[in-house]
């Protein structure tokens, strides 16, 4: 698409359907990244509007422009044009939940004072009729002097009207800017502010301007109201900083003696203005009839049932991951085998074939196979988030979370960490208390992320017997998987408690949270979210995991002399192609290939490293190969599967029946002939992966979020220690229990 001719910011309270509207407007043309300098997710998309391209910037959900959190600060910066790399928007779309319009208009009352052409979208319009409410959008538009559009964004209703309204405010933006600037000064909520406050604002503004500071009136207001919290402080040149804070505290004490209560007067003035403007335009049925949402809510937040339901839901999710994903996983495994045999047909035995088949296909393929489970997991998390259950779960869990040093708000970041710790750690930004946030951030990597899932699934499928209960609906494998998923969370409890007790003692946190109505998840939003994650997963498999697979393959292939094995393979394939049925010749060739392969892998760099590592990992019940695989999986956990895949593909017995990694692992032996992988080893590996910090990107994210190297190093050390000790205990316990 061409260069955008205009930039439009989309802002609204959380849970107003902002993402639905954004997706409806931009379709697939969205880019997700981070704002420069801060790790707030930046989402921009493009739409075509009467032949022109318009860029839409999706701002983080916020209740106010007071900028108390990083998210709110980003919204303010973008709207004021202070955000690097984003032009000051030409217009703003404010999206409001029509069923809760008055409170949603609070943010609108602040946005409109910025003097940008503004479009007000009343979303969830379909609910107005069903709840018996009546709203007059035409009069609201007249009262506030902005165009108003009613939408049901999740059903893609009213989207064309939004486009038309947007086009019209953009084309008339030149004269409208003046008009709305004039409008802002005469008729806005701030004209309801007390005279004393307005005089103090003007005085301060004049003084700042006399010092050549370019600052807008609303920014001076924020300085006065939010005091030291005010985000606009950075607009003040440092040589004026102490003078400004002096002026501010004097002004605030003058205001206090004049009876102006900060921050009460602002909210009172704004809500009074909203009430006055919407008087008679919003009708609610007297004695609100209990909605289905209320009835559902009564049960889901019930003292005991709520907790029970929560545990049950988690169990169902992890059971269905094993059950539902098994079919598509078989297909992918089939495709992988087909690709490998195709390659074998085209490329003769030698380093190139080995690189392609044993390195790339075995490595990348063994990770891609877990795509179905990732999709299912993200789908579930997306549904829970979108339907409004997540905030209930936070409500139900808050008390227990706060006793171990976090808050109910830690719940969502931790829950998303079950998919991936990176978005989880980034989501801790919604926790306003810094100490709660640090504790949450440091335990988030313990939650069982989707990269651990493949490790568990592989071990469980290979070594836990497939016993089914309740006519096949509950499987032993599913139960073990569920327990493994819980393990990290259980360990996180004492860890969080210790962190809070010894590292982050301090002030109690707050839990002021909206519990939005339940709603049907929007499939558009769901699909695009899952798609984003799938794309990220495939990209990882194609880059990071691809590279590691090739490196591991090289370490396991070199420096040995492969000519004898290659020659034997060529002769064997020659015999098979000629359909010679000389079984003795085939068997002797196979044997020499197998012997050669295991000798080669022992002589390789990987084999050497494995022998060096073996004393360290022996207490965990591992052999050197597993040790190397674990070491190689430092960049990302799922790499262990790729590595095992490569190691066992290279060293595997050439036997037509044992093509899967599962089978190859089952067949692996110690030099004395005992199997390497027992149930105890499998559990030891799983426990290690449940607790270790084997994910470079997570550690990088912690570094970025805390802006220090101390915490990622701390995370790595404490998690690796936990993992080693945990795996050792598990190995010994399971082994004793098995005897």
């Amino acid at each position: 698409m061409s260069q955008p001719s205009a930039t439009v910011a989309l802002i609204g309270n959380p849970n107003t359907g902002k993402s639905s509207l954004f997706n409806a407007l931009c379709g697939g043309n969205a880019r997700v990244g981070n704002y420069p300098g801060v790790t707030v997710e930046q989402k921009t998309g493009r739409m075509t509007l009467s032949a022109a391209t318009v860029e839409i910037v999706d701002l983080p959900g916020t209740y106010s422009l007071a900028a108390r959190s990083a998210d709110e600060a980003v919204a303010v910066d973008v709207l004021s044009g202070a955000m690097q790399g984003i032009d000051r928007p030409d217009a703003v779309i404010v999206i409001a939940d029509a069923t809760n319009l008055e409170r949603n208009l609070y943010l609108f009352s602040q946005v409109i004072e910025l003097g940008l052409p503004t479009l007000l979208v009343l979303n969830m319009w379909d609910r107005i009729a069903s709840t018996g409410m009546k709203i007059d959008p035409a009069c609201i538009s007249e009262q506030f002097g902005v165009p108003v559009v009613c939408t049901s964004a999740s059903q893609r209703k009213g989207i064309d009207e939004v486009r038309q309204a947007l086009a019209s405010i953009l084309t008339s933006k030149i004269d409208r800017t003046k008009e709305s600037a004039a409008f802002a000064s005469t008729d806005s909520a701030s004209s309801n502010f007390p005279e004393a406050f307005r005089m103090e604002t003007q005085g301060l503004l004049d003084w700042l301007r006399s010092k050549n500071v370019t600052i807008a009136q609303y920014q001076v207001q924020r300085l006065l109201i939010d005091a030291s919290d005010a985000h606009v402080h950075r607009e003040i040149p440092s040589h004026l900083a102490s003078e400004v804070s002096q002026q501010l505290s004097e002004a605030r004490s003058r205001l206090a003696s004049a009876g102006v209560k900060i921050p009460l007067f602002e909210t009172q003035a704004r809500y009074a203005w909203i009430k006055q403007k919407t008087a008679g335009l919003i009708e609610r049925p007297r004695g609100r009839p209990p909605t289905i949402s209320d009835a559902v809510d009564r049960w889901l937040t019930h003292r005991w049932f709520g907790l029970l339901f929560f545990v049950f839901l988690m169990f169902v999710i992890f059971q269905s991951i094993t059950l539902l994903a098994s079919w598509p996983m078989d297909w992918i495994e089939g495709i992988q085998g087909w690709v490998a045999s195709m390659l074998e047909g085209f490329v003769g035995p030698g380093p190139l074939r080995s690189l392609l088949v044993d390195g790339v296909v075995a490595g990348v393929g063994s990770v891609l196979i877990f795509l179905p489970q990732i999709v299912i997991l993200f789908l579930f998390i997306g549904i829970l988030e979108d339907c409004g259950y997540m905030s209930r779960a936070a409500f139900v869990m808050d008390k227990s979370m706060s006793t171990i040093g976090m808050s109910g708000k830690s719940f969502l970041p931790l829950m998303s960490s079950f998919a991936c710790a990176i978005p989880g750690i980034m989501a801790t930004r919604t926790i306003d208390n810094r100490k709660d946030r640090m504790v949450t951030l440091l335990v988030a990597p313990l939650m069982s992320c989707s990269a651990r899932l493949p490790v568990y699934v592989l071990m469980v499928a290979a070594f836990v017997p497939d016993i089914r209960y309740a006519s096949g609906w509950i499987t032993l494998q599913g139960i073990v998987l569920f327990s493994m998923q819980c393990l990290g969370a259980l360990v996180a409890i004492p860890v969080a408690w210790i962190l809070k007790r010894f590292f982050f003692r301090g002030e109690p946190s707050t839990f002021i949270m909206e519990l939005s109505s339940y709603r049907w998840p929007s499939w558009h939003v769901m699909f695009s979210r899952v798609w984003e994650r799938v794309l990220a997963f495939i990209t990882r498999a194609g880059t990071l995991i691809f590279v590691t697979s090739v490196l591991v393959w090289a370490a396991a292939y070199f420096p040995g002399d492969h000519s004898t094995v290659d020659e034997a393979t060529r002769r064997l394939e020659g015999l098979q192609a000629a359909e010679v049925t000389d079984e003795q010749a085939i068997a002797s060739l196979e044997e020499s290939i197998n012997l050669g392969k295991s000798r080669l892998i022992d002589q390789s760099f990987l084999g050497m490293a494995g022998r060096a590592l073996e004393p360290v990992v022996r207490p965990l019940g591992w052999d050197g190969k597993i040790g190397v695989a674990v070491l190689a999986s430092f960049p990302a956990r799922e790499v262990i599967i790729a590595t095992l895949g490569t190691i066992y593909a290279l060293g595997s017995e050439t036997d037509e029946t044992s093509d899967g990694l599962k089978e190859q692992m089952r067949a692996a032996q110690w030099p004395d002939g005992k199997p390497v992988f027992t149930l105890a080893t499998a559990f030891s590996i799983m426990v290690f992966f449940a607790l270790c910090a084997q994910c470079a990107s997570t550690l990088m994210t912690i570094q970025r979020e805390t802006n220090s190297w101390r915490w990622p190093i701390f995370s790595f050390v404490y998690m690796t220690t936990l993992a080693y000790v945990g795996a050792m205990l598990t190995y010994n316990l399971v082994q004793r229990w098995m005897l």
Binding site: Y63, S64, A66, R68, T99, N100, E102, R103, Y106, D226, D229, K261, I262, P263, L264, E266, T267, Q268, Y271, R284, D297, R298, T301, H302, R303, W304, G306, L307, S391, F395, V396, D398, K399, S400, S402, G408, D432, P508, T510, F511, I512, M513, E514, L515, S516, S517
Partner: protein, 80 residues
């Protein structure tokens, strides 16, 4: 645990009150006010989470969850 009948903590499930004031002038007070917990508004207690904390309220046409410590800062007049 504060169950002063003159604050939000004193409400039982289904009881209503009229907000008189929000104590303090810090960020917590500002957030409560922004969220529509304003003097003069009517507020209803919906229910408490397991272990009695936090508490769900209905105010300004929507649902909000507050910890007891936050609810204790909101002075109300109980309504029959």
């Amino acid at each position: 645990m504060p169950t002063d009948s003159s604050t939000l903590c004193g409400l039982q499930s289904g009881e209503r009150g009229q907000i008189l004031s929000v104590e303090g002038s810090d960020a917590v007070a500002a957030r409560l006010l922004e969220m529509g917990i304003l003097p003069g508004e009517e507020i209803e207690m919906i229910g408490a989470a397991p272990m009695g904390d936090p508490i769900e309220f209905s105010v300004y046409g929507y649902r909000i969850s507050l910890r007891r410590s936050e609810a204790a800062r909101v002075r109300i007049e109980k309504q029959p």
